[in-house]
């Protein structure tokens, strides 16, 4: 059932993952090694030390190509970690809320609603600003803003499953709550959770870039697409490649993730309720 677009998107994403994993070995990036005599050179220039800058150099004479590759590592790392952490928290809380209902459900759902009342990027800015710039803090700040979405998806599935016959029969057989949740309810939550996760990977990458763009993301000595774009902002007219290259990379990845998420959703029927936010 996979469409051509989905196949192409998978290909592009696989390429980016490969680049993120192996790229830094081929094109090492050292944020500390600056060369101010080679600054703002256009793509295809040769540097003073004889090396070749395929995509030009930035405002400090560092290779944009190596910087974008190093940035892809941070972007993918943050996106995947945030989705895994946020997804796990959301899964546990969503299962509890959906299975037990009652006051527990009320508390979890209302806390979630309250949090959703804030624009998520605003909450992330607040948290990242309070925690200070570091990779771990970016992941924490973004995971906090994402768990609600996963919790809602899981809670919805758990609610619709908990009164089905096979769950009742397990209960009659004397299975404990934990076993019922793990063996009978959890499987029905996996697919909507995965669909939500693919969508969130893309959104998280954008959020990370936004935080780094605002100077609240990764520290200045680590490359991130967002911070590279921010650095290139003042050179849009004279050295467009600094902002354009990571910008294009970010756009490509987010579109591909979106296409994949769409096709995954089309493939499953009970996930039309997935919250996209």
């Amino acid at each position: 059932m996979k469409s051509k677009a989905a196949k192409a998107a998978t290909g592009v994403l696989a390429l980016f993952v490969l680049v993120a994993v192996f790229g830094p070995m081929l094109a090492p990036y050292d944020s500390v090694a600056t060369g101010v005599s080679d600054r703002l050179l256009p793509p295809g220039s040769t540097l003073s030390d004889g090396s070749f800058a395929l995509l030009g150099t930035d405002q400090l004479g560092r290779d944009v190509f190596a910087q974008v590759i190093a940035g892809s590592r941070i972007s993918l790392l943050v996106a995947v970690t945030v989705v895994v952490v946020g997804g796990l928290i959301g899964l546990v809380l969503g299962l509890l809320a959906g299975y037990y209902g009652g006051w527990l459900d009320t508390v979890i759902s209302r806390v979630g609603d309250m949090q959703l009342a804030f624009p998520s990027i605003l909450l992330a800015i607040l948290l990242a600003g309070a925690l200070g710039p570091s990779l771990t803090n970016v992941i924490i700040a973004l995971a906090v803003t994402r768990w609600v979405i996963f919790a809602r998806v899981v809670r919805g599935s758990a609610l619709s499953t908990r009164n089905r016959e096979f769950v009742d029969s397990a209960r009659v057989m004397g299975a404990g709550s934990v076993r019922i949740m793990a063996r009978y309810i959890y499987p029905s939550c996996v697919q909507p959770l995965l669909v939500a996760a693919t969508v969130q990977v893309g959104l998280t990458m954008v959020a990370e870039a936004a935080l780094s763009f605002l100077g609240l993301g990764v520290p200045i000595d680590q490359a991130s697409w967002g911070s590279t774009i921010a650095a290139g902002r003042d050179y849009l007219a004279s050295a467009w490649w600094i902002a354009a290259v990571p910008g294009i990379a970010l756009t490509l990845v987010v579109i591909c993730v979106g296409v994949l998420g769409d096709s995954a959703r089309d493939g499953s029927d009970n996930t039309k309720v997935a919250v996209v936010r």
Binding site: V32, A33, T34, V36, S37, L60, P219, D234, L236, S238
Partner: protein, 505 residues
């Protein structure tokens, strides 16, 4: 009772409404265009946050810039010279007493007369405000308005910088200055009156009759445009008539354009990188000098700033009174390593550098380029690019290893920077040197320019040779002006006098 309209009636009515709105818009636009031709729209790169010239922003360039247009001072600065402002003459009758004769034809924008009483009230207000400018006035013990046009200032110890300090002391109307809300639309006696002010957004001024002649412009608008690229675009499209300072990196976007003229002037602003001399290992001057030698300052300044800055030769910019050129530190990583080894740090060490991005043009790039050079001699420097408020708190609490920032010698006199910051009592970066204290205090008291110059040249040498900080670049202000702007004189202080500016149509 609700009236009902059929469709045709509705269209007729709304058509009439639209047409009249359109005509009204035309007439307003037409009426404005004549005046608009003589209205200058000029942007300074930093926002005007406050119009209180004695308040917390009293030495902010943007507040001073607005203050020069709205208020008067007793003495004005014209290039290197001090010239009469509201004061027509002044003399030092003994070393602790200054007597000023004031003009009797100065009026505030509300029509009331400016008298010595207003000057007295203003000076006392700024002295007691507890702000950066108050520090200049601590030795003033009494201010007396002997007549409406005679003012006597008595100091507890000689204050040689009295005339130059007075170029910053803006005169407010004594009767009104403490009214709540006064600074939302303040009244001064300067060449321009405030029409409207939105902090950090826009200041609108219009010309008034002034004792020094009515400005040639009718109106001046000073908008604040946050993004550098938007500022440049606004100048290119003609939305702005003047923009300063243009960051060094943006110069090439404005070069070679027919309708834009660039004028440069060395400014009072410069970068320094202080070492916290009270913290290991910077207590050792050998380590500080080694750090300086490790950085290719000349190369970085040339490549990063180009024509936008000049290499510094003293701890103050060359435009400032008291500047004396020193022997430059040559870039020599091997010598730096040897010096570190002598100090017992052959394996290098870890430290940190604190700055905030908006401190000045290319601050991030400068910081990272220096960190890169330090890495080459084995010194690992953690970049701490912090937020401005946090930076200020840590600076005042001396919670830093190194601090990179722009500093401005606001008065154009070495006393403002050397005397204020490097005195042991000020204790800004943990450096203590009794010999330097003696020199600085002597220079602060003396009013003889020749002797002061000699004292400051000794002070420059001590600060430079002891490497209290590194002094990489003094900024050169570039003014971007559209070709229609005439008579605009760039100012080293970034506070141009707009009285003589005209606009060609």
């Amino acid at each position: 009772m609700v009236s009902t309209y059929n469709r045709r009636g509705f269209l007729k009515i709304s058509g009439i409404g639209l047409a009249s709105a359109y005509l009204a818009a035309c007439s307003v636009g037409g009426g404005d265009s004549g005046a608009a031709a003589n209205a200058l729209k000029a942007a300074f790169a930093q926002p005007v946050n406050d119009l209180d010239p004695h308040g917390p922003s009293s030495v902010d360039e943007s507040t001073l810039l607005a203050g020069r247009l709205i208020y008067d001072t007793l003495i004005r600065r014209d290039g290197d010279k001090l010239v009469p402002g509201v004061a027509t003459s002044w003399e030092q009758t003994d070393e602790n007493t200054w007597v000023f004769q004031l003009r009797d034809d100065v009026t505030f924008h509300d029509g009331s007369k400016l008298t010595a009483g207003d000057v007295k009230a203003s000076l006392e207000r700024v002295k007691d405000a507890g702000t950066a400018q108050s520090a200049l006035w601590t030795s003033v013990s009494a201010v007396e308005a002997e007549t409406d046009t005679t003012l006597r200032i008595t100091t507890s110890e000689p204050l040689g910088t009295m005339p130059v300090n007075l170029t910053l002391m803006f005169i407010l109307p004594a009767a009104k200055m403490n009214e709540p809300g006064f600074f939302r639309k303040p009244i001064g006696s300067g060449p321009f009156r405030v029409d409207g002010f939105t902090p950090s957004d826009e200041l609108r001024l219009s010309a008034v009759e002034h004792w020094g002649g009515k400005p040639k412009l009718d109106r001046v608008t000073l908008p604040y445009i946050p993004e550098t690229s938007s500022q440049i675009t606004a100048l290119r499209t003609g939305e702005l008539s003047a923009l300063w300072p243009v960051p060094p990196d943006q110069l090439r976007e404005l070069e070679g354009l027919d309708e834009i003229r660039l004028e440069t002037i060395p400014s009072y602003a410069y970068y320094f990188n202080w070492f916290n001399c009270g913290r290991e290992p910077f207590t050792d001057p050998r380590v500080r000098r080694a750090m300086w030698r490790a950085v290719d300052v000349a190369g970085i300044v040339k490549n990063l700033f180009g024509d936008g800055a000049e290499l510094m030769t003293a701890p103050i910019p060359s435009t400032v009174f008291g500047h004396a050129p020193q022997e430059p530190y040559r870039h020599d990583p091997d010598a730096a390593k040897r010096e570190l080894a002598d100090a017992g740090l052959a394996d290098g060490f870890r430290t940190s550098l604190m700055w905030f991005s908006d401190t000045g043009p290319l601050a991030d790039a400068l910081a990272q380029a220096m960190i890169s050079d330090w890495a080459k001699i084995g010194v690992t420097v953690e970049p701490q690019n912090v937020e401005k408020a946090e930076w200020l708190r840590r600076l005042n609490a001396k919670e830093f290893d190194m601090d990179l920032q722009i500093n401005t010698v606001t008065t154009g006199d070495a006393d403002f920077t050397l005397g204020r910051l490097y005195d042991s009592d000020a204790d800004r970066m943990g450096y203590r040197n009794p010999e330097l204290d003696t020199i600085l205090r002597q220079a602060h008291r003396d009013s003889d320019r020749g002797r002061r110059e000699e004292l400051y040249s000794r002070a420059c040498k001590i600060v430079w040779d002891d490497a209290v900080g590194m002094f990489p670049a003094a900024l050169i202000s570039t003014y971007g002006l559209r070709s229609t702007v005439e008579g605009f004189e760039p100012a080293a202080s970034n506070q141009p006098d707009l009285r003589g500016v005209t606009l060609a149509s």
